[in-house]
Structure formats: structure tokens, C-alpha cells
């Protein structure tokens, strides 16, 4: 969500109504239907305001006006994106795993007879720019509540992040705060952070992208619904008390001039309380398991307004709410403020009257507030949906059809125009740029690229995140995917990756979006998992700019086409518009998350070369085809500051074939390591796979017409580097041939701690590690010492202590 997505004032004020002491009521609205209302300041257009009056048959009250402005905002109504997003449903591949999809709080995918997972990625871009720590923290909190609302226990988070230029002073303000906020919230919540991205590009200066993904697991029968069904059922607000978070533009609106007081009351920042969220999670899960919840919805950006209207609209029922019952942090809050507050760590429950006491007891056990604030009312006897009636101290401040807020918002077919510069941009190809050709120049380039901000070691960031908590993290950053064990008995698990490439999407939003999908799919596939479903966070500039809208339309079309071809449905996600400063929009940045499933995580394939079991090392093979594709590449950007040409070709059938090879290779135990090729090409993969466990490699390029430079730095899609233990090579080559995946032998892993490219250069791993791992620490400070050397081997070391079964005091079960 961004500022512009929110109407400038966000909430109207009850004080707006002239000559009245109490709040603006429905009765007053009927009497003073001609009164001027500040709808434009709240971001509503003339025709939108006229439509509200038509729906209500009078002017809206101040509270109603605020509610419409919130629910009909871009953020809540998807009014600009809806017409494009519907392709995700129209082109959705047949998939029997989907239990819930777009429109729910998060998509739910069945992974075994008994278990399902739910996952979703969302943006919290603008709040993270204003106040990096709290913005990023509450971004994590928000997505976790989406997962919780589906009936799932949240089990991990991931964070795709984009910042401005690495050396810009504002990046030094934003990045440490964002990272600390994600860590501060997620660590305190007890959720492992298992992956993400950190990308620097000047286009994100002033518009950092802070996306957050969460995943949860639930028994299939615990799936929750948001419908407020059952006349007479009780509406319960659970969690934190309500404060003036995210509102406060009130007095600014109230006065024509910006006086001093108005200046002091800027919209206030939301502050997260992860401890409260942890208690909220535990209490909700206890309520689900006891079968005490009939319906549930998290309170997100649009607070009570959204939760009340969506739960009622989904069921077609009405609702009666007594607003003065809402527990407040500040007693002086007006009804409009209560309705618009974005206070964190709250959920709305629908419970039957018989269960109310039990619900309140569970809340008390966990020390969270639980308050009955209303009840579900019947739809009309003629079948028209019920009404949402809200009173505040006996004043009727809201009386609306909930569906008019939740479902009947405006929908726009925004003008679309291909930008004039796309053809010029695409003609300016990086393939024509001067390239290094000597061994020394290549060596220097490998070291310089490894140290560049987008390719360097991200430990400075990721070590601020807990990746161990819950004890089910099988792989985490810097691996290609995060892998989690779901079932300790069977080894059932999932793999997750999130990827995006704004530069590729800038050059060609259709191909760029498909490349993001292909990369996330490949990252999951190389671990051996079967990719099954997709979530996306679409970060773009202003939808009112036809050029941006063209980028958006192209990206949506690409993702819908790509997901259909791959058989992986989009299960949900989020759109973030208005990521721009003045007329300059960010690169279109569709971020795609792909979920994969493992029957047994024990067969996951990691990315680091293990210490070879046999003399002569493991054999290295490159899967896929390397073409001269340098446009939009990391090399072109780092070396020449160049962005032009066409992005690499994407072939989803080839990605699928690669995935099948990797899944089978993993099942048959044919590979000891595998790493997807993307930003920085093969060179980057060699850097990461050798440094992971300090195991060297000797690489020999084939005489296939490609120069060593192209082999090292091309970013052709559909490729992975695999290490195959000697003795498995015949079976592996046969498997690749069976699926028609091209294989190039590239050499061997080596006992020698060096990366050697035959005939070109040798770099000792220590030199490589120094170059790769110093960058972020030099930029953002922190611990001066070198990180400790990694565990030197991939295999597990022996158990330090065996307890004698004959120990006095009786037998003790041997370790399981």
C-alpha cells in the first residue's frame, strides 16, 4: 500500500458536520442531505461520490464516507487491476489441490490427505519508506495474520526486498531499519525466515519495495471461512486494543488552513507488537482446534471497516455493531477513527452465542482482549442481503448494505499505452558492449561481480533473522529455495522461492514477468520439489499513467499464460500501485512466489558442493542451453551501468523438463548439489556453490562457439549447475536425455580450495570469499570481524555423546 493508494486524508471527521455536538448520524444525514462533504480530499471521485449517494438514497454520514473512501480505494477495491487480475481465474490450470483461491485471505493448497498449506506475498512498501523499522515489522505482522485467518499455523516468512542505490545515503537509513524490523517482528514471533531477495537499483530510490511472504500449515478440516453466517451469532474483536494508528489526518481535513495543531497530527505510524501477535496466533489456533469459530477475518490495512463489511458481505447477512464496546487505547477516539484505525494484531471472529464464554476464556488464558462488539443479523425475507448498522452511544452512525462497500466498488478499465521508449530501449542491446577476453580480465570481472551489491554475500542481512526456530528448517537462505519439513513422521515438506527481476520487466514486461515465474519455478525445482502453486506481488507505478498500466497488463497476461502452461495456479497475492516519485515510476516489478511439495524432505538437493566422497571430485554438468544473452544482465549493469536490449528468452516447456529431471535425480539420489543459474550467470553459481562449504572446482568450457565470457556471464534462463558423484553420471545423463534437457560437462569439484577455469584463471577461495563477503558490512557497518569459516563439509559430524544403554538407573531409549 502506498500513500497515494490511500486517500490523502484517509478518514473523515465527525467534527466536519457543522453545528452538531455529537457524531454525524444517519438521521442528520437525512436532514442535511445537501451539506457539502470533503469526498475529494478522501480520494473519492465525483462519480464515485454520486454513486454512494445513489446507494444510500441520501448523503453518507461522516463515518460512512470514510468507510467508502477506504473500501473503494485502490488498495482495497483493486479497481484498476481487477479487469487484468481476472485472467488468473479465467486461465487457471486444472488443479485438484486448491482448497481456497483468489479472494480469500490467502490461497490454500492441499499437500497430503490430511494437510494443506496456505501462502501469500504482500507489499508494505510505502510505510517502510516512511518508518523503515515499523513499516517492515507491521508488513510481516499483516501477512502472518492473513495466513492465520485461513486456519493455519504460520510456519515461516520470506522477504523479497528492493532498495535504491547501494551507496545512496537514504539507503543507509532505509535498509538497516527494514532488516531490523523484519527480524525484530519475525524473530519475536518465532517464525523462521527462510529466504527472500535483496536487490539494489536506483529506480527504487524513494520507493523501496518491502514485500513479505508467509506460509502456514493446517489440517484440511481446520480451514476457516470469513463468512459472518448465522443470525444471532456474536461478532467478537480479538487481540490488541484499538488506537489512532494509521489515522489522524482528521483535523487536517477539519480545518481549511493547516494550523500548527494540524501539523502535529500527521497520520500516525502503525507500531507492531509481535508479542501480542504471538498470543493472538496461539489463541486463534486454540479456538480453531476447539471448534469455537464460525467465521474469522484479520484486520489489515482497512481495519474494522474492511473486516465488518467483508465478513457480512461474504455471507449476505447483516450486522449490528455497538462501536462504543471496542476497547480503545485512547478514550477520545471518534466513531470514524475507530472504524478507520489500522491498529495491528487484531482479528474479527464470528462465534455462536453458546461458544462466547469459551472464546472469552481462551482469550483470557493467553492475555489478549476479546470483546463482543456486535451480532449477525438476518438478510431480508425477500433475499436481499442484510444491512450493516453501527451505533456509537445510541447514535446510528452507519447504515449501509455491506456488499456495496466490499464488492460493488468502482472498476476501471484504465487507458493503456505502450511507452514510446520501449523500442529504443530494446534496440540498445548489451550484447554489443565491450567484454573482457583475457584470463586476467575475466578473473578481475568474476571478483568484481562477486563483490557487487546485488550478487555479494547477504549474510549481513540474513544473520539478523532466526532461521532455526520451530526446528523444521531444512534449507534456508542462501539456498535456492527455503525448504520446510511439515510432517516429522513422514518427511512431507514444502519448498518456496520468491523471485523477480525489475530490469527484465522494464525491457519487456511480458517476458520479464514470465522470467520471474520461471526463475522461482526453477529455484523450487532444482531442490527436487514438485512446483504446485503460485502467489504474486505486483509492484508498479501509477495506474493512472497509461504506460505503467500497459506494463501491468502485460505482466498479468504473462503470469496468467505462464501459470497455465506450467500447471501452477495463482492462488492469491497483492497489487501495489503508485510506487513512483513524481513522474518516475519504478521498474515494473512483479515478484513471484512458487510453492513446491516434497514427499520426503530428506531428498532435498542443496546448492553447495559437498566435500567429494571419491577422489577426483564430483562431476559438474550444466543443464540447459547457454546463449549470448547479456541484455538486462547483472554484468551489463555492474560493468557498464547499461540497461537495454531484450531480456533472455523464456521457454517454460524447457523449465518443466528441467524440473522433471531434477525431481527424478533427487528421488534416485543421483546429484549431490544443484544450483539454479540466474543473476550473474554461471560465474555467480560457481562462487556460491564453492564458498558454501569451501570446496573448490575445476571448470573446463566446451568448444561450442561461446566464449568463456559468455559461458560465465550470460543469463540465459532454464539452466542449472549440478554436481554428480562419480558412478551416477551414466544414469544422470540418461535421465536428462530422456527429458530432452541439454547437458554440458563442465569439469569437477576439487579438494583444492580454489576456483579454476582451465586456460583462463585460478582464484583461491579465500580471495573469492573476501571479495564476496565484505560488501554489505562495508556499506552498512556492524560487526567488524570476519564471519567464521563455514562448516567445512556437507556431511553431518558424529554424535558427540552416546549414552550407554546399560547406564545405571534403568534403560534409556536410544536416540530416535
Amino acid at each position: 500500500m502506498t500513500t497515494q493508494e490511500k486517500p490523502s486524508g484517509f478518514a473523515a471527521t465527525d467534527v466536519l458536520v457543522s453545528g452538531s455536538d455529537g457524531p454525524d448520524t444517519v438521521e442528520q444525514a437525512q436532514k442535511t442531505s445537501d451539506e457539502l462533504q470533503p469526498y475529494a480530499e478522501l480520494g473519492l471521485k465525483d462519480d464515485e461520490y454520486a454513486k454512494i449517494r445513489e446507494i444510500l438514497g441520501r448523503r453518507p454520514t461522516a463515518s460512512e464516507l470514510a468507510m467508502y473512501s477506504i473500501m473503494w480505494s485502490e488498495h482495497c477495491s483493486y479497481k484498476s487491476s481487477k479487469v487484468h487480475l481476472k485472467q488468473f481465474s479465467e486461465k487457471a490450470p486444472q488443479n485438484t489441490r486448491m482448497l481456497a483461491g483468489i479472494g480469500e485471505n490467502a490461497g490454500v493448497v492441499q499437500i497430503s490427505e490430511k494437510l494443506a498449506v496456505t501462502f501469500k506475498v504482500e507489499s508494505h512498501n510505502h510505510p517502510s519508506y516512511v518508518e523503515p523499522y515499523q513499516g517492515a515489522a507491521t508488513g510481516v505482522g499483516g501477512i502472518v495474520r492473513d495466513i492465520l485467518a485461513m486456519g493455519a499455523r504460520p510456519i515461516a516468512v520470506m522477504d523479497p526486498l528492493r532498495f535504491g542505490a547501494h551507496d545512496h545515503p537514504d539507503t543507509a537509513r532505509v535498509l538497516p531499519g527494514v532488516v531490523a524490523g523484519i527480524g525484530g517482528y519475525g524473530n519475536c514471533l518465532g517464525l523462521p525466515n527462510i529466504g527472500g531477495e535483496i536487490v539494489f537499483d536506483p529506480c527504487y530510490q524513494g520507493n523501496p519495495l518491502v514485500n513479505a511472504l508467509s506460509i502456514g500449515v493446517l489440517p484440511v478440516e481446520r480451514l476457516q471461512k470469513k463468512e459472518a453466517t448465522g443470525t444471532g451469532n456474536i461478532v467478537v474483536l480479538l487481540g490488541a486494543r484499538t488506537g489512532r494508528d494509521g489515522i489522524g489526518g482528521v483535523s487536517v481535513l477539519a480545518s481549511a488552513t493547516f494550523d500548527e495543531e494540524a501539523e502535529q497530527r500527521r497520520p500516525s505510524v502503525q507500531v507492531g507488537d509481535p508479542f501480542m501477535e504471538k498470543l493472538l496466533i496461539e489463541s486463534c489456533l486454540e479456538l480453531y482446534d476447539a471448534g469455537l469459530v464460525s467465521g474469522i477475518q484479520d484486520l489489515g490495512g482497512a481495519g474494522l471497516t474492511c473486516a465488518l463489511t467483508e465478513t457480512a458481505a461474504a455471507a449476505g447477512t447483516g450486522m449490528r455493531v455497538w462501536l462504543e464496546r471496542v476497547p480503545l487505547r485512547e478514550a477520545s477516539m471518534s466513531p470514524t477513527e475507530i472504524l478507520a484505525s489500522e491498529s495491528q494484531e487484531r482479528m474479527l471472529l464470528i462465534v455462536t452465542p453458546e461458544n462466547l464464554d469459551a472464546v472469552l476464556q481462551v482469550a483470557e488464558k493467553w492475555g489478549v482482549w476479546a470483546t463482543a462488539i456486535g451480532e449477525v443479523t438476518a438478510a431480508s425475507t425477500d433475499g436481499t442481503p442484510g444491512r450493516l448498522v453501527i451505533t456509537w452511544n445510541d447514535h446510528v452512525v452507519v447504515d449501509v448494505p455491506p456488499g456495496s462497500l466490499a464488492d460493488d466498488g468502482p472498476v476501471y478499465q484504465r487507458p493503456i499505452r505502450e511507452p514510446n521508449d520501449v523500442m529504443l530501449l530494446q534496440a540498445d542491446r548489451a550484447e554489443t558492449l565491450p567484454r573482457p577476453s583475457t584470463g586476467d580480465a575475466l578473473r578481475e570481472t568474476v571478483l568484481r561481480m562477486a563483490a557487487s551489491p546485488n550478487l555479494c554475500d547477504k549474510t549481513w542481512v540474513t544473520e539478523q533473522y532466526d532461521r532455526y526456530v520451530l526446528g523444521n528448517t531444512i534449507l534456508a537462505q542462501p539456498e535456492d529455495s527455503g525448504v520446510l519439513r511439515i510432517d516429522e513422521e513422514t518427511g512431507l515438506g514444502v519448498a518456496l522461492s520468491v523471485d523477480g527481476n525489475g530490469r527484465f520487466a522494464r525491457l519487456d514486461p511480458y517476458e520479464g514477468a514470465k522470467l520471474a515465474l520461471a526463475e522461482a519455478y526453477r529455484n523450487v525445482a532444482v531442490t527436487g520439489a514438485e512446483p504446485v502453486a503460485v502467489t504474486d506481488c505486483l509492484n508498479f507505478g501509477s495506474p493512472e499513467d497509461p504506460h505503467v498500466m500497459w506494463q501491468f497488463a502485460e505482466a498479468c497476461r504473462a503470469l496468467a499464460d505462464g501459470c497455465l502452461e506450467l500447471g501452477t495456479p495463482v492462488t492469491g497475492g497483492n497489487v501495489s500501485f503508485y510506487n513512483q516519485t513524481g513522474a518516475a515510476a519504478i521498474h515494473p516489478t512483479p515478484v513471484v512466489g512458487v510453492l513446491g511439495v516434497f514427499d520426503d524432505v530428506a531428498r532435498r538437493v542443496p546448492m553447495g558442493f559437498p566435500r567429494p566422497a571419491k577422489a577426483g571430485g564430483d562431476l559438474l554438468f550444466l543443464l540447459g542451453e547457454t546463449r549470448v544473452e547479456l541484455s538486462g544482465s547483472e554484468w551489463a549493469w555492474v560493468t557498464h551501468g547499461h540497461l537495454g536490449g531484450r531480456p533472455p528468452k523464456v521457454d517454460l516447456a524447457a523449465e518443466q523438463a528441467l524440473g522433471k529431471v531434477m525431481a527424478q535425480a533427487s528421488k534416485s539420489g543421483l546429484v549431490s548439489a544443484a544450483h539454479d543459474l540466474s543473476d550473474g550467470g554461471l560465474a555467480q553459481v560457481l562462487v556460491e556453490s564453492t564458498l558454501r562449504h569451501g570446496v573448490g572446482a575445476k571448470v573446463t568450457f566446451p568448444e561450442d562457439g561461446n566464449s568463456p565470457f559468455v559461458h560465465l556471464f550470460s543469463e540465459s534462463a532454464g539452466r542449472a549447475l549440478v554436481a554428480v558423484p562419480r558412478g551416477h553420471d551414466k544414469a544422470f545423463l540418461a535421465l536428462a536425455a530422456e527429458h530432452g534437457v541439454p547437458v554440458t560437462p563442465l569439469g569437477v569439484t576439487s579438494e583444492e580450495a580454489a576456483l579454476e577455469v582451465e586456460g583462463q584463471f585460478t582464484i583461491p577461495l579465500e580471495e573469492l570469499r573476501t571479495a564476496w563477503s565484505s560488501t554489505l558490512r562495508d556499506l552498512f557497518g556492524g560487526p567488524a570481524e570476519q564471519p567464521p569459516a563455514p562448516v567445512t563439509s556437507g556431511e553431518v559430524r558424529s554424535v558427540t555423546l552416546e549414552l550407554s544403554p546399560q547406564a545405571p538407573g534403568g534403560p534409556i531409549e536410544p536416540p530416535a
Binding site: A180, Q464, G471, P808, E813, P815, A816
Partner: protein, 231 residues
Amino acid sequence: MRIGVVTFPGSLDDGDAARAARIAGAEAVRLWHGDPDLHGVDAVVLPGGFSYGDYLRCGAIARFAPVMESIIDAARGGLPVLGICNGFQVLCEAHLLPGALTRNQHLHFRNRDQWLKVEATNTAWTNGFTPGQEILIPVKNGEGCFVADTKTLDALEAEGRVIARYINGNPNGSQRDIAGITNEAGNVVGIMPHPEHAVEALTGPSLDGLGFFTSVLRSLATDGQLAGGQQ
């Protein structure tokens, strides 16, 4: 053997500690912060996390939980108690262990695989290690910097009450690289790194953490009065 694992509101690694106890061969018993009953357990683990949000000082509020009153009494009577990370902080706040854990010197939360050198092996929780043994255990904390006055530090050293030190780099600025300490009797141990995260080949960097849990089982098995005396 029954090892109790306490859950405070905000405990996060309680499930992991219980799993580690099970893998070591014990029965894990969950203890609730509001319930003073220790349910006859033979040993107690105070797990990692952010008890009560840790908003004031880490462990400061947890120390007053009803279950802690019982644990403090039982620990003084010899019950083996292991405080991991936040649990270590709680033990210091409860004055079962000396010193305090303060914000990491570099001010960042830090999670990494950490080498330790085991020193005191005459405690309930480390008797299965050999002195000088090097082990690899994940560390993850924002306030793990152990501090105490010089007199206390000298006494800890002199009495052989440092159970492990950080080697190959100090992750948080702890004085004298101290990673864990024990009380005079050797039944109460606090350690900043997380042994419960190094008990399975699939999820941990080593299996070294198991040694803490098998140690306490051995000490309970060999020392009947310890095992039976605390109910």
C-alpha cells in the same frame, strides 16, 4: 526420565527443546508459566524466545511467573535446570546464575552456526562432553552479551564455572568469550547458543547439541538422589 519444558507467553523454542529431550531419550513434559506445579519432572529446560515480549529487560518479567517460584526453590535443592538463550536471561534475572545478558555489542540480532569450546564438564548438563571439546551449535540472539563485574568473572573462572566459550569469533561481545556458565552446585546451567537446534542431521549444523540432553539423563541415572529428590 522426564524433562519439563516451560512455556512462557512468548516462548518460541519450547517445541524444539521438547523435541531435543525426546530425541535424547527422555519424556518431555510441558510446564505452563502460570502453573506452579512442576508435575514431578526430573529436570527443567527454560527455552529460548521472548518471554512476555522481553520489552523491559530480557527475562525480567518471566522471572516472576508462578512456575519460576517453584523452579527457583527446586533448583536450590538440586533440580537440574538448563536455561537456553532467553532461559539463560531468566536464570540471571532470578539470580540463580550471576551476571547479566545485555545487548549484543554490534547492536544487531545475530543468527549463525557457532563453534564453542566446552570447559566445565562436571555439571548436570555437560558431563558427557570432554573438556576442551569443540562443538558447533547455532547461536541466535539480540541480547546475548554476557557481562559481570571483574570479581564475579574472576570467581567464575577460578571455580571452573564457565561451561563453554565462543571460539573462532565472539558473536555478541560477551566478556571473556563466555557462552555459558553454571552455578556452584553444577545443577543450573545457562547457555546462550541453542543446543536444541543441533540434534538432527536434517535441520542442524551438527548433532552436538544432543550432548546437553544426554548429559542430564546420565547424571540423573547415575545420581539417584538427584533424580528422585525434587518432587
